[in-house]
Subunit: 348 residues, 2 copies
Amino acid sequence: MSLDRRAKTGRRKLAVVASCCPAMGSPRVTSVDVAKAAGVSQSTVSLVFSGKAAGRISAATEASVRAVAADLGYRPNAAARALKTGAARTIALVVPDITNPFFPRLLRGTQQAAREAGYTVALIDTAHDHEWGARSAEALQSGPADGLLLFEVDPPPVDAGWEPIVVIESDGRGHPSVVLDVVGGTRQAVAHLQALGHTRIGHLTAVWDTLTFIQRREVIDAMVDGDVPRAKTDFRVDAARADALDWLRGEPDMTAAFCDDDVLAAGLFVAARELGIRIPEDLAVVGFGDFDIGRVLDPALTTIVADAAALGRMAFEVLSEQMAGGTPADRVLPVGLEIRGSTVAGRG
Amino acid sequence: MSLDRRAKTGRRKLAVVASCCPAMGSPRVTSVDVAKAAGVSQSTVSLVFSGKAAGRISAATEASVRAVAADLGYRPNAAARALKTGAARTIALVVPDITNPFFPRLLRGTQQAAREAGYTVALIDTAHDHEWGARSAEALQSGPADGLLLFEVDPPPVDAGWEPIVVIESDGRGHPSVVLDVVGGTRQAVAHLQALGHTRIGHLTAVWDTLTFIQRREVIDAMVDGDVPRAKTDFRVDAARADALDWLRGEPDMTAAFCDDDVLAAGLFVAARELGIRIPEDLAVVGFGDFDIGRVLDPALTTIVADAAALGRMAFEVLSEQMAGGTPADRVLPVGLEIRGSTVAGRG
DNA sequence: TTGTATGCGTTATCAG
DNA sequence: CTGATAACGCATACAA
């Protein structure tokens, strides 16, 4: 009974709450409140705020509704809208390590594209916890996200309880995928080193056996004669430095190294510095990614330029197509070799 | 009429959709579907999945409900739950530049804390677009997020249509805030330089006039005699390098520089290298943040260590308190000076 | 221990 | 051009 009365005098509620205690909870203004205050029906308010007012609601009415709404501080409730429409206008991007400079750029590109399309991006950083990644993907499917961008996370099977998914830099297993031209980039890098006369080329590689790293290993193994000196390490400067220290000591006749990431290359630089190994005279180094950390090294790092932002935008486009009901084709983003001082003395 | 019939034979829908065309849209399984298939009521299913089954639903029933649900691929609809409960179990973190190494770490810390509490973090990167930041904050209040963590974004007034907000590294204007002990850190750094005998100490500062940078300027101005050589620059290595080049040329008698960020310091290093200025002999350099980019410089960068992850965790804790209805106190996170080779030769 | 009924705030389909 | 009214899927007081 008293509830009914409250509903009928609901308009007064606002003033009361505002002057009472905002901390107690948000004074939620609904479309009904706006309708009452504006003297129109709730559906009119809805029409105005869902952008479907054109040609259906008079300009005067719309203006007054908007004015009243602004006055009351009304905002459409996202949960209710999502429930009704079945779309949250949110996508999730799941990445293994937001701490690696590649991923912030990926996120930024994704977010730019998403923002233009009116989508919000929720970023999930799994910190290389595969299970957590998989569970996040699972959880996100329940509805918080209308679509998923998965970087190096095993996607759920295509047939399962299901939602638009695009896979980045890994095997789509049926889902559309977006990848860098890792094979092409690695070939360029190795060819560059070989053109410089290097024959004993090492590979400082990631500890993870995911598609992108497997491809690099395969390309290098195929292009380089004999066995390839190889060390696996974590994508952190200190870890890379420590592992590179051992590696360099154990491979005295290695004259060039391909690193799976600029961060690894930076670790290798530090190790080389400690051992008195000169770059590029004693050791030529190539990285992957083109991060700031490679540009400030002395000499600057030759690297494979990967446009992470473009990859993110591309991934969003593909996801868009998929959310629109299409069946997008896989895409490959070209990469380029940027030659700097770490392979050619006196350069950059 | 036909709608009613569909509702009644709804259970069959699943099989049809599954065998037909998954790409057409997700075969949404609802708690009603599960209830029917399990031969229980919808509320029983709800009880099971909202974790309130203990002592109310028999173990056998619960097990069978779960089995059927798993079989059908049921996931509770987040929007419906959010609508009903009024909480999305999501918070948003708004940052100015995810590309700066500080913020990924901040995010990671926030996410760790949030995850433990069962919250998801949505990251919004404004790319230093203040308006976009403000609008995001506005938009997020509608309900996608139960609470907001705002880094260097002007918070909406406390009294407005309202939601829990914690402000990081800026003026809360009534909202609880979490900040680094920037004043203490800057003091330590300047004192360190002065103890080394430097008197002409410059300041490579940010182009933004936000609280944290204003504080640093004030501390330095107060501690250093005479005018302080100062240059403003963007938080990008190339921008910092370019600006530092001019700055160094124009300030020949400056013997030490405090940089607002390790990224700026890295730019300064590159510029100094190009000009043949030796670090630390000709110029001692202190950074802020303790990023990888400072560790790989030669010599390594003396810096103010700011634990971004801890700041993120702290911010989430404060937000938690607030969401729980409390009125948390502001908090300050201590920072420490890490002395390395860029100020003291032969060190690190 | 389980089932029934109701409403969260929206959107969308209709009459008016 | 506008106003009732019925879902959307879940949670919860209450009845059984």
